[in-house]
C-alpha cells in the first residue's frame, strides 16, 4: 500500500476533525466547507480503494484479502453515509455525525495499516 496516501488521508481526517470541532464548539450546523472537506476525503478514499486493490493483486504479502478489501470499501462508504445523515440534521447533531464519520474513517485507516503490515 502507498504510505503517502495513507498519511494524506489521516492528515485530511485530522483537518476535518479540527474544522468540525471548531463549529461544534460554536454550536453550528455542518457548513459547506465541511461537506467540501468530506468530498475531498471521499475522493482520496476512492483512489485508495482502487490503489489498494491493485496493490493487493500485485503483492507477495500474506494479506487477508477479504478483510482488507472490506475495510477499503467500508472506509469509502463512511463519509457518504455521514454526509447524508448530516444533511438530514441541520444542527450541531449533524456536525457531530460528521465528526463520527471522520473518526470512523481514521480508525479504519489505522486498521488498514495494521492489516497490511501484518501480512509482511
Amino acid at each position: 500500500m502507498t504510505p503517502w496516501l495513507y498519511g494524506v488521508i489521516l492528515a485530511m481526517c485530522g483537518v476535518a476533525a479540527v474544522l468540525l470541532v471548531v463549529d461544534l464548539v460554536r454550536d453550528r450546523a455542518a457548513q459547506d466547507s465541511h461537506f467540501l472537506t468530506l468530498a475531498v476525503l471521499e475522493v482520496l478514499l476512492l483512489v485508495q480503494l482502487v490503489w489498494g486493490c491493485v496493490a493487493l493483486a500485485g503483492t507477495e504479502r500474506d494479506v487477508s484479502a477479504a478483510t482488507f478489501v472490506s475495510y477499503l470499501v467500508t472506509a469509502a462508504l463512511a463519509p457518504v453515509a455521514g454526509a447524508l445523515f448530516s444533511l438530514a440534521e441541520r444542527s450541531r447533531v449533524g456536525t457531530t455525525i460528521m465528526l463520527l464519520a471522520v473518526g470512523t474513517v481514521a480508525g479504519m485507516e489505522l486498521r488498514l495499516g495494521d492489516i497490511w503490515s501484518a501480512g509482511a
Binding site: 453515509a81 445523515f85 457531530t96 455525525i97 463520527l100 470512523t104 480508525g107
Partner: protein, 139 residues
Amino acid sequence: MPRPGPSQELSTGWGRALVFGYGVFAVAATGRSAVQLGMHADRAPLAYSLSLLAAVIYLLATTCLLLGGRTGWRLAGVAVLIELVGVLSVGTLSYLATDLFPDRTVWSHFGQGYAFLPLVLPFAGLAWLRHTRPRAAGH
C-alpha cells in the same frame, strides 16, 4: 400539541447521531464476527460467539431506533441493556481471565480497540431512551 408519536423522536435529533453510531458498530461487529467465524471458528469459539452476539445486538438496536414507536423503544431498551451488560462483563473478563479470550472481540477491554466507544454507546443509548420514553404512563 397533536401528540407526536415516539416513532418520530427516536431517530431524529441526537437519535440520528445514535443511529449512525450504532449503524457503524453494527457493520463493524458483523464484519468482524463474519471474518472470525468464517476463517477460524475453532480458535476461540467463546470470543467469536460473543462477537456474533454483539453484532446481533447492534443490528437490533439500530433497527429499533430507526423503527421507533413504543415497541421499538422497548426493544431498543432491551438491546442496549444487554449491550451494557455485555461490554461490562466481557470487558472485565478480558482483563481477569485472559485465557477465555485468546482473540479480541468488540467488547474486549471495554472496547479499547474501538476508542472505548462500545463503552460509551450503551450509556448514550440509555440516556436517549430515557429522554424519549413514552409519557403516557402516569404511574
